[in-house]
């Protein structure tokens, strides 16, 4: 059973009271979170493992003037909590002062907000989880070429938390997630073995993709990879599937963090309010999407977060800011101390088919390995696999690399109109016509 709000509030208030009134902290933030999750792994028609996790954790940040330190602990008992609180104060006293160390401005803190519907009361027991995974496997194995499940799992996770600070804020909510995936092995007519996967994750169980659909997509992907060929080193248009294209948003997220701007380590450092994409590109981060498991009405400092444009008409408009670095940059926190939330490119003007038709040859990248660009140097280099298309003919390719500069990739980016919300970062199919070098034989 998930711990209730009252219990979590009691723990948090105890820590705040003790830190401020007994131990000499001038300010503090405390988060108390209980997470209960259950996972089933399933393979070859039977359960492979079960895992149950129940944790109660406390995170504390204490301030003495401009000195700051933090601690986290697994909750054991009051005595142990007291010991850790004393420890964090002892460490705070020794930590040097830093003028930007302070709680967020009071007017930025979250007040009332609409219920975002982040918690589904449904309980999916282990038998029901197995039923999902069985159906996925049956569907997958009905595809010619799928030999077996490499791994598959279903998780239900529920969390309840309370955040308090010494400015009197006390807030929190419950959230839930239901996720499942399958990873399949394909092999056909003496080919080598290939694998691919599909997964889905939602806050509400009834919004999950149907198991037969999930099994079918994974099967098609694994079969598509069979009999890969190698390609020659060349310069060629590159198209990224949505599940790969969304990595561009992860790379952007790290390049526009307050820390990388304040510390001067981002290749985009001089680009605020300047063009970094073509006119057609808009990027939005919206923490208030209802029923999305990535929504967060406020960040881990209690700062309210609203929908913002990160990029509008190709121009970088906003950074990812928490309170420390926003103070350093002389800006205001936009409630992104715990990162971006639901981030997406808006749709492009052409359909995916139209984009494809305009190219005589191109590579569709379906998988990448390694990082998706270095946001300090601006270099982009990774391993990849995908499908090669030329004049109506196509075949699977693997074992090639992509190399170029992030700056060029951003500027040359063209998007299709097939945006779907599935991940925390969402992109339509993306085309980069120039600027990437394919390394092969």
């Amino acid at each position: 059973m998930l711990k209730n709000k009252k219990f979590l509030e009691e723990q948090a208030s105890y820590c705040v009271d003790r830190l401020i009134n007994k131990l000499g902290a001038t300010d503090c933030e405390v988060v108390v979170a209980n997470a209960v999750s259950e996972t089933i792994e399933f393979r070859n028609k039977k359960i492979e493992s079960s895992d149950r996790s129940d944790t109660l954790a406390i995170g504390v940040t204490s301030y003495i003037g401009k000195r700051k330190s933090s601690t986290s602990l697994s909750y054991i008992d009051k005595k142990n909590t007291d010991m850790m609180l004393e420890k964090v104060i002892e460490v705070t006293k020794i930590t040097p002062e830093d003028q930007f160390n302070e709680l967020p401005d009071k007017e930025l803190l979250i007040k009332d907000y609409d219920d975002l519907l982040l918690f589904d009361e449904s309980e999916i027991n282990n038998q029901e989880k197995i039923k999902y995974l069985k159906e996925v496997e049956e569907e997958a194995l009905s595809n010619d070429g799928i030999i077996k499940t490499n791994s598959s799992s279903f998780s239900q996770s529920k969390t309840n938390f309370i955040f308090q600070n010494s400015l009197g804020l006390s807030t929190g909510y419950k959230n839930s997630s239901f996720s499942y995936y399958t990873d399949l092995l394909a092999k056909k007519n003496g080919s080598g073995t290939e694998r691919d996967y599909e997964y889905d994750s939602k806050a509400f169980i009834n919004e999950l993709m149907k198991p037969n659909e999930l099994g079918k997509i994974a099967a098609e992907r694994a079969i598509r990879k069979l009999n890969p060929k190698k390609i020659k080193t060349q310069s060629i248009p590159i198209m990224f599937e949505p599940r790969i294209a969304n990595s561009l948003l992860s790379t952007l997220s790290s390049a526009i963090s307050g820390s990388s701007f304040a510390r001067g380590t981002s290749f985009l450092k001089e680009k605020l309010n300047k063009k970094i994409f073509s006119n057609d590109i808009d990027i939005i981060d919206d923490p208030r999407i209802k029923k999305s498991m990535y929504s967060k009405p406020f960040d881990d400092e209690g700062v309210s977060s609203e929908k913002i444009y990160l990029v509008k008409d190709g121009v970088l408009k906003n950074l990812k800011l928490g309170s420390y670095y926003s103070k350093m940059l002389n800006m205001k926190s936009n409630g992104r101390s715990s990162g971006l939330t639901n981030t997406y490119f808006t749709n492009g003007k052409k359909s995916c088919e139209e984009l494809k038709k305009s190219l005589s040859k191109y590579i569709l990248v379906t998988e990448t390995m390694g990082g998706f660009g270095n946001t300090t140097t601006g270099e982009f280099s990774c391993g990849a696999a995908g499908v090669y298309y030329e004049n109506g003919d196509s075949y699977s390719i693997n074992n090639f690399t992509l190399g170029g500069k992030l700056e060029d990739m951003f500027m040359n980016l063209v998007l299709a109109d097939d945006l779907k919300f599935k991940y925390s970062k969402n992109s339509p199919t993306a085309l980069i016509q120039e600027g990437l070098i394919v390394g092969g034989q």
Binding site: G192, A262, G439
Partner: protein, 489 residues
């Protein structure tokens, strides 16, 4: 049958140190715990209770200031039951009678339809004492550590005005674990870790470069972080960043690559090591599952995984996270595949003996086969001979991180620092390269193995199925033909 196995083991281990008594402040007594464990596991093939009490202290200097001091405590227990190839695991941070009963019920419910054939609680006991049980956090005061980080910052910034950012951190972990088997056999260990890392950014005009290096292990603090050691770490981070200031675009395509010794062993770890982990053997998902006894590489290549490697190596353990003794395992002998790395489950399912490779990230995770310290034995060539033999290629003198797809064997690595080789000579620095290939090809394509085996400096972290553990690795310099991904055709 089941009973006698328990009786044989019904002697308390002599290694028990009771450094942290999990039952002292709990309503659960040791005897009650043993009874619940026995009642739960007697009807299973295998399992154990794993308890952990650990504290991590970390201090980070960034941008000339101490950015973060933190002190985190991890405490809890996980009960595991295994029948045939089905594993049930339940963990919580509450060590109490009710929690253990709940865990037991959860495991029984998962496994109720599976019948145990043979309850085995025998353990291959260890006599190792590879590291001291000192507390690495208290080895130096927080003040001294903060002072040291400031010294590091000044040292790196004084090396060049182009150094624009310095991040340095010291992390120390005190970890105490206890494993209780059915029958009451108890094994406890204290596993200290210390590490130091320095990263810098340099800027020349509009060009940004980075360098990063670290050291660490299960050793006394002063042995890792004395003046000559931390300066060496800083010098290497600086060297990487400085070399890239004038680096040109890396070439793309198939070519000869000469890897330097030491950390380049990460290539061996990813491309070969993971594919020889026992769980992939019984699942037949590794491309090497049916290749035991076969020549999979040329006869210069011998690969070892050694969990009882002395000298404070990060991957070393007195016994693994299932209490099995760690040992030296030959994986590839003169090119022939001779063994896999096993935990108790994969050993039983493949009729092998456990090899001491059952590891877990924490009490929140069930163990699985993992590498410890993985390295390739020396060959006969010098690095100079290798470079001389290359007509066109690159010399990699700092490899970054990488990953592998076990099924296809496809791997990739980022290169932090490299130089072109032309007609046997080292030329200019190149940047932005990625190395890719498949594990089965790359071990065949290693054409020269060096005579300069070195283990890494102690900063390897390995992730698998959501669990991260620290590992050691090493390799002599090697020449291998592979695909380099650069941004120049």
């Amino acid at each position: 049958m089941q009973k006698s196995a328990i009786e044989l083991n019904n002697i308390k281990s002599k290694y028990i140190k009771y450094m942290s008594d999990f039952f002292k402040n709990s309503d659960l007594t040791r005897n009650q715990a043993e009874t619940i464990i026995n009642d739960t596991l007697i009807t299973k093939d295998d399992g154990e209770l794993y308890l952990q009490d650990s504290v991590v202290e970390s201090i980070t200097l960034d941008d000339g200031k101490i950015k973060n001091t933190s002190y985190a405590k991890k405490y809890g227990m996980g009960l595991r039951g295994v029948v045939d190839d089905v594993v049930a695991y339940s963990h919580t941070n509450s060590v109490s009678k009710q929690s253990l009963l709940d865990a037991s019920e959860n495991i029984n419910s998962t496994l109720k339809n599976f019948k145990s054939k043979h309850h085995d609680n025998s353990i291959r006991r260890s006599n190792e004492n590879l590291y001291t049980n000192h507390n690495p956090i208290n080895a130096k005061s927080l003040k001294e550590k903060i002072q040291l980080l400031h010294q590091v910052d000044q040292y790196l910034r004084s090396k060049s005005p182009l150094v624009k950012q310095v991040t340095a951190s010291i992390t120390a972990e005190k970890k105490f674990i206890e494993i209780v088997k059915s029958g009451g056999a108890t094994f406890s260990d204290s596993q200290p870790t210390t590490s130091f890392r320095a990263s810098i950014m340099m800027k020349n005009g509009s060009k940004n470069t980075q360098g990063s290096y670290a050291n660490g292990g299960r050793f006394l603090f002063d042995e890792y972080i004395n003046e000559s050691n931390w300066k060496k770490v800083c010098d290497e981070a600086f060297r990487q960043a400085e070399n890239n200031l004038d680096a040109r675009k890396a070439p793309a395509g198939q070519m000869d690559v000469v890897l330097n010794n030491g950390w380049s062993g990460v290539l061996l770890h990813e491309a070969v090591g993971h594919t020889l982990e026992g769980d992939f053997l019984y699942k037949k998902s590794t491309l090497f599952h049916d290749k035991i006894g076969e020549q999979i590489a040329n006869d210069q290549i011998t690969v070892i995984d050694q969990g009882n490697y002395n000298g404070g190596r990060r991957g070393s353990l007195n016994f693994d996270d299932e209490a099995e003794k760690t040992q030296r395992n030959i994986l590839i002998d003169k090119g022939k595949l001779v063994g896999f790395m096993h935990d108790r489950l994969s050993a039983r399912l493949t009729s092998n003996k456990p090899t001491g490779n059952g590891r877990r990230q924490s009490y929140q995770h069930a163990p699985m086969p993992r590498m410890t310290n993985t390295f390739m034995m020396n060959g006969k060539y010098s690095r100079e001979e290798m470079i001389k033999s290359v007509k066109k290629g690159i010399y990699v003198d700092a490899l970054g991180g990488g990953s592998v797809d076990i099924v296809s064997g496809q791997f990739n690595f980022t290169v932090s620092n490299a130089r072109l080789i032309e007609n046997g000579e080292l030329k200019e620095n190149v940047e932005g390269a990625t190395l890719i290939g498949s594990g089965s090809d790359v071990i065949k394509n290693i054409s020269m193995v060096g005579n300069d085996l070195e283990l890494d400096n102690g900063f390897g972290m390995c992730g698998k199925s959501g669990q991260t553990v620290q590992v050691g690795l090493g390799i002599p310099s090697c020449k291998v033909a592979m695909t380099v991904g650069g941004s120049k055709v």
